[in-house]
């Protein structure tokens, strides 16, 4: 790798790090863990820059998704805090929508990372199930079951939101 490649990599990292860090934060729910995740992904990208420089962002995102799932599987403990009860909500109708969003945010952060990754790919990245499966290196059936379990868990934590797990195909 030459100085030109290094500069190329630095330019890419400088330009895309803020966006990628936000994605890492959604995946981890923690600023330091997000920085670690992005750092890991950037390091791997740097190691294979010659091969990935044409489409580095897709490579980085895939690493981040897979790494987040792998990290969770490797660790015997779960860093997430599972809520026994959903956060208290105001009875004020005007705040109900905001409160629901906050409650859902908390519930999403309480999900195991494997399930959260699937939801991020499906709903934030808006990818079809087949592409989610390809990104994570698993079957479409696994994506469906993880998505189903994730929404079922959210629904059990927040029954009043009326979440449904059946999606209408586009």
């Amino acid at each position: 790798m030459d100085e030109h490649a290094r500069q190329d990599f630095a330019d890419f990292a400088a330009a895309r790090s803020p966006q990628l860090l936000r994605l890492a934060y959604v995946l981890t729910g923690d600023q330091h863990a997000a920085e670690d995740l992005l750092q890991t992904a950037l390091t791997r990208a740097a190691a294979h820059w010659g091969r990935v420089r044409n489409s580095p962002e897709a490579y980085l995102r895939k690493i981040m998704y897979r790494e987040q799932v792998s990290l969770w599987r490797r660790r015997s403990r779960r860093p997430e805090t599972v809520m026994a009860e959903p956060p208290e909500r105001s009875a004020d109708d005007q705040l109900a929508g905001v409160d629901s969003r906050l409650a859902l945010r908390q519930a999403l952060l309480a999900l195991p990372p494997g399930k959260r990754v699937v939801l991020v790919l499906r709903y934030l990245e808006d990818l079809p199930e087949e592409q989610v499966a390809a990104t994570l290196g698993c079957s479409v059936g696994t994506v469906r079951s993880q998505s189903h379990k994730a929404i079922r868990q959210l629904r059990s934590m927040l029954p009043e939101l009326g979440l449904t797990d059946l999606e209408v195909p586009a």
Binding site: M1, R6, F9, F12, A13, A14, S17, P18, L21, R22, L23, A24, Y25, V26, G29, Q31, A34, E35, D36, L38, Q39, T40, L42, T43, R44, A45, A46, A47, W49, R66, V69, S70, R73, R74, R75, S100, R101, L102, L104, L108, L109, G114, V118, L119, V120, Y123, L124, D126, L136, G137, C138, S139, T142, Q146, I151, L163, D165, E167, V168, A170
Partner: protein
């Protein structure tokens, strides 16, 4: 996208918006990536960042003086210095065996499985597959601390032949058995066995070509005990 999807997407965007500003990460990533390209780095459970953060805690006697830079950190000596050619013989060979099934009961008598005794006395029985390797000599052996993963680990640096075999073994487990979300990923797990006892199991989630075998353990005492068992029994 239906209403559920929209609610989830909105909440995820809320989380996304909370992320703090990014710090410059490119240069350190490039340096780490370059080291990774040109030399040995990595372990079963450590990212490159973790490898950088590893501090050598214990070195095999005799190696510290010969390699003051710290053999076993996973980082090559500066300036391309040659590795110490000394051999560390393992008095107790380390067996690496693929796990095909796990049960939360001790192995029955005359079983070919291997038992692991947990810290609280719980017992697990691992059924072992045919993919395996045995390590009897290494270039270096040490206990290291990973501040990133907050664990201690026994790190064995293999000779080229062993490193190639370990690379082949991990490549098989990762490429044919590892699935990030499937429970069947247990088939991608390795058991580290010393004197017939399973000291640790790990999921192989990448091909390890560096020649470093890392056994993560819960405490420094556990890691030092395993190292001592490998070297002195």
């Amino acid at each position: 996208m239906n209403r559920t999807g929209e609610l989830i997407a909105t909440a995820l965007r809320d989380i996304e918006a909370e992320a703090g500003p990014s710090r410059p990460l490119a240069d350190v990533a490039w340096r780490a990536g370059r080291r990774r390209r040109v030399t040995v780095i990595g372990s079963a459970a450590a990212t490159v960042a973790a490898a950088i953060a590893i501090a050598v805690v214990v070195l095999v006697p005799g190696h510290a003086a010969e390699n003051p830079g710290g053999t076993g950190t996973g980082l090559a000596p500066a300036g391309g210095a040659k590795q110490n050619p000394a051999v560390v013989q393992l008095r107790s060979p380390l067996e690496l065996r693929q796990i095909t099934a796990t049960s939360n009961k001790p192995c029955p008598p005359h079983s070919t499985g291997a038992t692991r005794i947990g810290m609280r006395g719980t017992m697990q029985c691992f059924t072992l597959g045919r993919h395996e390797m045995t390590i009897t000599a290494v270039r270096s052996a040490s206990v290291q601390y990973s501040s990133t993963d907050a664990d201690y680990r026994v790190v064995l640096t293999l000779y080229p032949t062993g490193a190639a075999r370990y690379g082949t073994l991990t490549a098989y487990l990762y490429k044919t058995q590892y699935k990030p979300l499937d429970p069947g990923a247990a088939l991608a797990s390795l058991a580290f066995i010393v004197n017939g006892r399973v000291v640790q199991t790990v999921v192989i989630d990448g091909v390890i070509k560096t020649g470093d075998v890392a056994i993560p353990l819960n405490s420094r005492a556990s890691a030092e005990t395993v190292l001592a068992e490998l070297l002195h029994h």
